[in-house]
Amino acid sequence: MQKIGRGAIRFNRPPRIWAWASVAGKKESEGPFGQNFSKIETDEYVGEDNWERAESRLQSEAIELCLESSGLTEDAIDAATGGDLLNQCVATSFAVKDFGIPFLGVYGACSTMAESLITAAALLDGGYGENILASAGSHFCSAEKQFRTPLEYGSQRPPSSQWTVTGAGAVLLGFQGKVGVTAATIGTITDMGQTDANHMGGAMAPAFADTITAHLNYNAAKPSDYDAIFSGDLGVIGMELARELLRRDGVNLGANYYDCGEMIFDREKQDVHAGGSGCGCAATMLCAHILPKLNSGEWKRVLFTATGALLSPTTVLQGESIPCIAHTVELAHIE
């Protein structure tokens, strides 16, 4: 691992993502990627008594399926790193506890999947071990409960609002397989004074632009060097803002720029306004869409840039603006 700039690293011995799994809810299964998820849970309680446990269950199932597809048991895993949106990251802690795997909980709001990946890749390249799990997840109901209003409360959502994805993704990093984690840039917290908690795309777009700029500069790359550049959950408005912010700097995101939140639902038919969001959004799309294409070689080089809004209901009520962050992970097909 080598520092190539402030916050930017290239991996000397690129860890590989060699197994993965995603679990998604009913609404997600009705979206354009419904067929791609490893497992669908149509019951919003996932057989549990409450939404917090349900969210936790989504993540433990994703981990279980990921382990299953790798053929390894939990004893062979050196560490698990992951997070979610709930207070104290309980969904992940409760999901991981029964596996008995050494655990590092991370919180980066919806950028968590990228943060977990960077943590895991850095540990592996640093010689920590052979196999590390990285995961993230979210649940629409538990997120509404924590960040907004009770589910049955009758309110209208503004056009800029986004729909928290019910789902989780888990990936296994090691030193076999065809998808390498070749570089990463850790984002700087960006705050452009946005205060509207119903407009996450507007708040997060500058963080995305900032991290992409840094990553491209440090790696002497341009957007067209990648087969695809993904933001996590900027939504349709945030995407436009990101394009515009980067265009001002002479960086043109072309047709190879996508947003997991914009893609995961059919925005016309599924009534999700600006798109999907939540830790589970980037995590499930990574597993259901991005990794398979990299693994098959259809894509050779991809930037996976998950974005997060680092707010809490308390800071919103106190009138604070919304600090945001984006971390980017460069993934490459390696024969």
Binding site: E152, G154, G193, L241, L245
Partner: protein
């Protein structure tokens, strides 16, 4: 990313953000709200026909609408109507009922005392607090100056 001031960025965000369709939202709210009030009026005539006096009738109408909204909230229907109607369901007493029942349902998992009991008024609480306070002020004004 090159320098862009918060103000400039705010303008950019506004440029890309569609506002809620205020006009159609108002129309929907007007009609659904009006429909609820018509229902209330119907109930009023019904209770008056039962020989209830005006005061009892007024209370009975409110209670009936509160019950109806509570049942619809529990059945998961209210939220769907409110999504369409907006202020049309929020402003009448149905909105108040929904704002108490929905957190009560949501926090049942945290227990009857610390969940339902403590969280039931997280939405409606301010209305009760400031509604009561305002009624006291109005009462004092009436008592000292208008009686």
């Amino acid at each position: 990313m090159s320098n862009i001031s918060n103000k400039e960025y705010e303008k950019m965000v506004e440029g890309y953000t569609k506002n809620s369709p205020i006009f159609t939202d108002c129309l929907k709210a007007f009609f659904v709200g009006g429909l609820i009030c018509t229902l209330g009026e119907g109930l009023r005539h019904f209770f008056l026909s039962l020989d209830l006096n005006e005061t009892l009738t007024a209370s009975s109408v409110s209670i009936s609408l509160i019950l109806l909204a509570a049942v619809l909230t529990a059945a998961g229907v209210f939220e769907k109507i409110a999504k369409f109607a907006g202020a049309g369901t929020l402003v009448p007493i149905t909105g108040f009922s929904n704002s108490v029942v929905s957190p009560a349902m949501e926090y049942k998992t945290e227990g009857w005392v610390t969940g339902v009991g403590a969280k039931m008024f997280i939405v409606a609480g301010p209305v009760i607090v400031y509604g009561t306070a305002a009624s006291i002020v109005a009462g004092l004004i009436y008592y000292f100056f208008m009686r």
